[in-house]
């Protein structure tokens, strides 16, 4: 009888270990890289080379606990929190303006709750995934119509706008919008409108870049004539620096250029773990958004491609889970998480390689950032919870 019981357990509590191990490996690797990258600056600034590592370890441990708990709860449990989560995200973002708001390096993006500080934008990403999954399920076939499409995408708009305008965090806003679009893309049968949308976004981006460049040239001429110096705004500067980082090597282009130096000097196998030179005060925020360039420097092209491969594996696991999910809600949750991680990884690497203009996007599981890793792991917990559903359905 005892043997039977044991067997039954094995059968019922299936875990997608492939996914789990990929995530754990990424976390472990991330911590090693974080320590390697941040130890020098941490020792200089805080007198403790493990300063960042310690903080990240705490968040990671919390995140893993969170992930395990979430994975054991039936994901339908969260359905009822969709609207509450959405509203909570809005409120939290607005609270950044309150005295609880906390400013780091000139950006007011954090909430300080006692010893913890937390970034509402990260919560908003999770809330958006949950909310859209529920919304699309509720709409059913309604998603196929223009009305349904606009409703679904429009649901994301307020949060995106809030993140952009209130916390002045365009990159997070783009990510939330991206998650929403990807979820709707998967849910809606149409291609045309998405292609149209993509073309539209590209055209708009090209136009903005064009205007900014023209503007900058005009300014440069005006400045050369001894005219008034105006402020193009930091995003404008970043775009100009993106086009020619060498020219703005001393300010806007500095970080990008230093990241490129790091990548370029890595070669095939890199300088070896811990031997980066760029992290020694040259590359700002090396442990943060720019950690990928240090990976390139220390572990070379090989290390970088390995990491990319791991992320591909991760996304592939997500797809398998989504495809086999027992219902649309579960599948959409997984698609949302897939979208979130895919967008962040792609944008992060694109920024580091100067493929797109510099904007602060962290590399999931690897970059320094407590809230980010906590909520990412919660999302993984959700995916694991969905994955449990598959198994029993597929059992012959």
């Amino acid at each position: 009888m005892a043997v039977r019981r044991k067997n039954r357990k094995q059968q019922e509590y299936f875990f997608d270990y492939t996914l789990l191990f990929i995530v754990l490996f990424l976390l472990g690797f991330g911590l090693v890289m974080l320590y390697s990258t941040s130890s020098y600056e941490a020792a200089l600034d805080y007198g403790n080379s493990a300063y960042y590592l310690k903080k990240q370890l705490i968040s990671t441990a919390l995140g893993i606990v969170c992930m395990l708990i979430v994975s054991r709860i039936n994901y339908h449990f969260w359905e009822r929190f969709a609207v509450i989560g959405y509203i909570a995200a809005v409120v939290l973002i607005l609270m950044v303006l309150s005295p609880l708001g906390h400013e780091v390096k000139g950006a007011r993006r954090w909430l300080r709750l006692g010893p913890l500080s937390l970034q509402p934008a990260e919560i908003a990403k999770l809330a958006m995934i949950l909310f859209l999954a529920v919304l699309v399920c509720k709409m059913g076939k309604g998603i196929r119509t223009w009305k349904g499409f606009i409703l679904a995408v429009g649901a994301a708009a307020p949060i995106c706008l809030l993140i952009w305008k209130v916390t002045n965090n365009l990159s997070s806003a783009i990510i939330v919008a991206g998650i929403a679009v990807l979820m709707v893309f998967v849910a809606a049968p149409d291609y045309k409108r998405f292609v149209l949308m993509a073309v539209g976004v590209c055209a708009a981006a090209a136009l903005i870049v064009f205007i900014i460049v023209k503007n900058a040239e005009g300014q440069a001429e005006a400045a050369a004539d001894g005219g008034i110096q105006s402020d193009a705004g930091f995003r404008g500067d970043r775009i100009i620096a993106w086009l020619d980082p060498e020219k703005y090597a001393s300010d806007e282009g500095f970080q990008t250029l230093q990241a490129l130096y790091a990548i370029g000097s890595g070669n095939l196998f890199g300088k070896g773990l811990g031997r980066s030179m760029q992290k020694l005060g040259f590359l700002p925020e090396a442990q943060n958004d720019m950690i990928f360039s240090i990976i390139c420097e220390e572990l070379g092209l090989f290390g970088a491609l390995s990491i990319i491969l791991l992320f591909i594996l991760l996304i592939w696991r997500f797809m398998v889970i989504a495809n086999n999910a027992s219902d649309l809600f579960g599948a959409l949750l997984v698609v949302g998480v897939l979208g979130h991680i895919a967008i962040q990884v792609i944008l992060n690497i694109a920024v580091v390689t100067n493929t797109i203009p510099n904007t602060g996007i962290s590399l999931p599981f690897i970059s320094y950032g407590g809230t980010s890793v906590l909520f990412l792991l919660a999302e993984i917990g959700l995916v694991l919870s969905v994955s449990k559903g598959i198994r029993l359905n597929d059992v012959g």
């Binding site: 000097s265 070669n267 390139c296 992320f311 591909i312 649309l328 059992v395």
Partner: protein, 818 residues
């Protein structure tokens, strides 16, 4: 999507629900097969999604069939058709809510499905993501391939550029009382980085104007530089600014509003060597040139100890272009504590200057009071040098400035003739250790000591002097041409009779004489811890080739050459009981924090003469200063011993003399030796040792009270008056006001005052008291009123009333034998 497939899909869904029901019934039988089939099907599922969309549909149906078959095997006879009813689904829901162990078995709530169409779109999304990753990988590869070399160089060049040297601080040179004679001060070089300032137009104006207001740098000069070399990173505009000078700028730069656009200015740190007393002990201390290289004197001799090791701010690259991580802080240099005493040195230099100013241009037009004047003050019991001064001197803070001695035209001429450097070298020469000269009669002390110690003369001999002596056909004269008459050994020394000394030389013999001379270190370096001591080995006679006349003139210090330090050290050994101490200046090496790293103890090298000989010599030398040629040098109130010297320089018969006096005090217990040499005094009639004696007397008069050596002799009215003038004794009225302590504190302080011409109250660094220079009294720092020493609460005052009383008592009751 074909109908067939739709059917499959539906079929499968129904199967699922029905299977769950069966699971409960047949679980035991089918468990193992289920597991196996799960593995298989999930494997297939994975393969399916990986391989994309083309064959997806077929596979899916195939899989459907497979699982169907498996299900059939496991569940045996149960027909599928029966389970196609909605009732079954309802049943399932019910069983679930009744607590069946099938937690996530069935869809709930929305009931919607993740359709094939959605799966397809997800696959499309996956491929888009894959393509994005592929694109980024290509980009990574491209960066590595195209710019790798370039970027690698960039990284390395950045590294070197930023790997900043942290300069060490060169150690201090301190005197015996802890006064800093030389120290290094952190200074800042103002560096302009034009590339940063030019990077944004808005930086230029604020930066240029800040430089102008804070440092008074001409705005146009900076603008020109920015325009001409827009990419220049390193342009030193101002050098060696103190922290006070740069702090207004630093504050301005910190200012949020005004300092925001001040960019591209940084300060390079370095250390500047400072000599707070300017020319004091310049020859002994020496100075440093660029990069802390010591030039001359102690600075050169102890350069390695004074220097530390530079640190580096970041790591540096090793041979494999790898980063060495150790961030090394600069190790500051060690301090050298010397036996020099700034006060004694100051007194010595005062009298040297006084003499030279008095005789400036007196006989030789446009020349100084002497070619050179050198003074060494030593402690005969340790060989430590208390003061060492040479004239002409120079300002250590500005050693290349010779405008004090030469006019602009002369300097221009020197530069033309390329003799400017030679002139500088001459000025920097330390006469006391680098110049050799014939010692003259001061050497007679060595001759007699050698004779006595070797037993060749007993001290009871008498010699007849008729003004000259014929030696090997040479008529060698005594300085008194009509002769001294009959003289004892002591008398010969007192009167400095050459003829008597030549007779003694005959008695001593060449070998013994030269042996003793070598024992006195004549011809050998004394190894004093100063750079550049002269070698005199070939300036003395070789014992094998020495003829009788050579010995004859050697007995009274002609024919061979010594340096001042050689003679002073030898003289010390004659009077201190016969022990030859290595002359030394450093007494202690300190760590940068002031703790002792090494104590340098006095080193006895040998005993040259016996204690008895030494004692006898002291009596003779004392007599020289009582009844002999050395009376001029005697300071009021003291008994001293000493020997005068007058040596004619080469070429002879030019009326050029080196006059000298070497003396010690007190006569019975030598505490201090003063050796004064005046090289060719600027007077018509040179051969009088009184020039040197007067300097020595002045020095003795002031340093003996300073060294707490008390007067033993009665003062005459005149002497009292003289001392009052020097403020060593208080004036009568002051005496009635206050006895004792005020004197002790005031005396040398006021001397310094006169020298420095400071108008107001001064700080006595020996006692920490504030002194009124006009009276020599201690002053309350709060009220600026005189302090009654008996009720003083201000601080400790050196000297006690009893000491002073004792001094005066002995002074009055002592032996008036001058």
């Amino acid at each position: 999507m074909s109908t067939e497939n739709r059917n499959h899909q539906r079929n499968r869904n129904y199967q699922r629900s029905s299977r769950n029901v069966e699971n409960r019934n047949y679980r035991n039988n089918s468990r193992s097969q289920e597991l196996r089939s799960l593995q298989r099907s999930s494997l297939q599922g994975e393969r399916r999604s990986a391989e994309g969309r083309t064959s997806q549909r077929n596979r899916r149906s195939a899989e459907g069939r497979t699982s169907q078959r498996n299900g059939r095997n496991a569940e045996s006879r149960i027909s599928q058709r029966n389970r196609r009813s909605l009732e079954n689904r309802e049943l399932l829901k019910r069983t679930k809510s009744q607590g069946a162990r099938v937690p996530e078995a069935a869809p709930k709530g929305t009931g919607a499905r993740f359709t094939i169409r959605m799966q397809k779109k997800l696959a499309v999304l996956f491929i888009v993501v894959l393509l994005a990753f592929l694109g980024l990988s290509m980009r990574l590869y491209a960066i590595n391939k195209e710019d790798s070399e370039n970027y690698k160089k960039q990284v390395l060049s950045q590294q070197e550029y930023s790997s900043k040297v942290l300069p060490y601080k060169r150690g201090d040179i301190l005197d015996a009382k802890g006064t800093r004679l030389a120290y290094s001060e952190k200074v800042y070089n103002l560096v302009v980085d034009a590339s940063v300032i030019n990077s944004k137009q808005i930086y230029v104006e604020p930066t240029v104007s800040a430089l102008n207001t804070c440092f008074g740098i001409d705005a146009n000069e900076i603008r020109n530089h920015l325009a001409q070399k827009p990419k220049d990173k390193y342009y030193v505009v101002k050098k060696q600014l103190t922290y006070e000078e740069i702090s207004p700028f630093l504050e301005l730069q910190k200012d949020e509003e005004k300092g925001k656009n001040i960019k591209g200015i940084w300060f390079e740190e370095e250390y500047k060597r400072n000599y707070p007393f300017g020319s004091l002990a310049c020859h002994t201390l020496g100075f440093t040139s660029k990069d802390n290289i010591g030039t001359n004197g102690l600075e050169a001799y102890y350069s390695d100890i004074l220097n530390g090791t530079n640190g580096r701010e970041y790591g540096y690259l090793n041979d494999d272009s790898e980063l060495e991580r150790t961030t090394k802080a600069a190790v500051d240099g060690k301090n050298v504590v010397t036996s020099l005493d700034a006060n004694i040195q100051r007194i010595v230099e005062k009298y040297i200057k006084q003499f030279n100013e008095q005789h400036q241009g007196e006989y030789r037009q446009g020349e100084l009071g002497s070619k050179h004047t050198g003074v060494i003050v030593m402690n005969p019991k340790t060989g430590n040098v208390l003061a060492m001064a040479a004239y002409p001197d120079y300002d250590l803070n500005n050693p290349r400035d010779i405008s004090a001695y030469y006019s602009q035209e002369e300097i221009a001429k020197m530069e033309e003739e390329d003799t400017y450097l030679d002139t500088l070298q001459g000025l920097w020469r330390n006469f006391c250790i680098q110049d050799a000269f014939e010692p003259g009669s001061t050497a007679k002390a060595m001759t007699i000591a050698a004779g006595l110690d070797a037993g060749k003369i007993k001290g009871n001999e008498y010699y007849d002097c008729n003004g000259q002596l014929e030696v090997s056909g040479h008529h060698i004269h005594c300085h008194r041409t009509n002769g001294h008459g009959n003289l004892s050994v002591s008398g010969a020394l007192e009167q400095s009779c050459n003829v008597a000394l030549m007779h003694m030389g005959d008695a001593i013999g060449t070998e013994t004489f030269m042996k003793y001379l070598t024992n006195f270190n004549v011809g050998l370096k004394t190894n004093i811890d100063l750079a550049g001591e002269a070698r005199t080995a070939n300036l003395i006679y070789d014992v094998d080739s020495m003829v009788r006349s050579d010995l004859a003139i050697s007995t009274f210090g002609q024919g061979y050459k010594v340096t001042m330090i050689q003679l002073a050290s030898a003289f010390c050994s004659i009077i201190n009981g016969g022990y030859y101490y290595e002359p030394h200046i450093a007494t202690e090496i300190q760590n940068p924090d002031g703790s002792t790293a090494e104590t340098i103890t006095p080193r006895v090298l040998k005993q040259v003469v016996s204690t008895e000989t030494s004692e006898k010599m002291r009596t003779y030398l004392n007599a020289v200063c009582i009844t002999g040629t050395g009376t001029t040098a005697v300071p009021a109130g003291y008994l001293i011993g000493g020997k005068t010297g007058t040596a004619e320089t080469y070429p002879r018969k030019q009326g050029q003399y080196v006059v000298s006096f070497i003396g010690y005090a007190p006569a019975d217990d030598p505490q201090v030796v003063v050796y004064v040499v005046v090289d060719r005094p600027n007077v018509e009639d040179q051969p009088h040792s009184t020039f040197a004696q007067e300097i020595a007397k002045g020095i003795f008069t002031e340093i003996l009270p300073y060294m707490n050596i008390f007067r033993t002799e009665k003062l005459t009215e005149e002497q009292e008056e003289e001392l009052r003038k020097l403020q060593i004794l208080e004036s009568v009225s002051e005496n009635s006001v206050e006895k004792g302590e005020g004197e002790e504190d005031g005396e040398d302080e006021t001397e310094q005052e006169k020298e420095e011409e400071k108008p107001n109250y001064t700080y006595d660094d020996r006692t920490g008291n504030i002194i009124d220079p006009s009276t020599g009294y201690q002053v309350d720092p709060n009220t600026m009123e005189y302090v009654d020493p008996l009720f003083s609460t201000i601080g400790d005052i050196s000297g006690t009333p009893s000491e002073n009383e004792q001094e005066e008592d002995t002074g009055e009751g002592g032996n008036p034998g001058q």
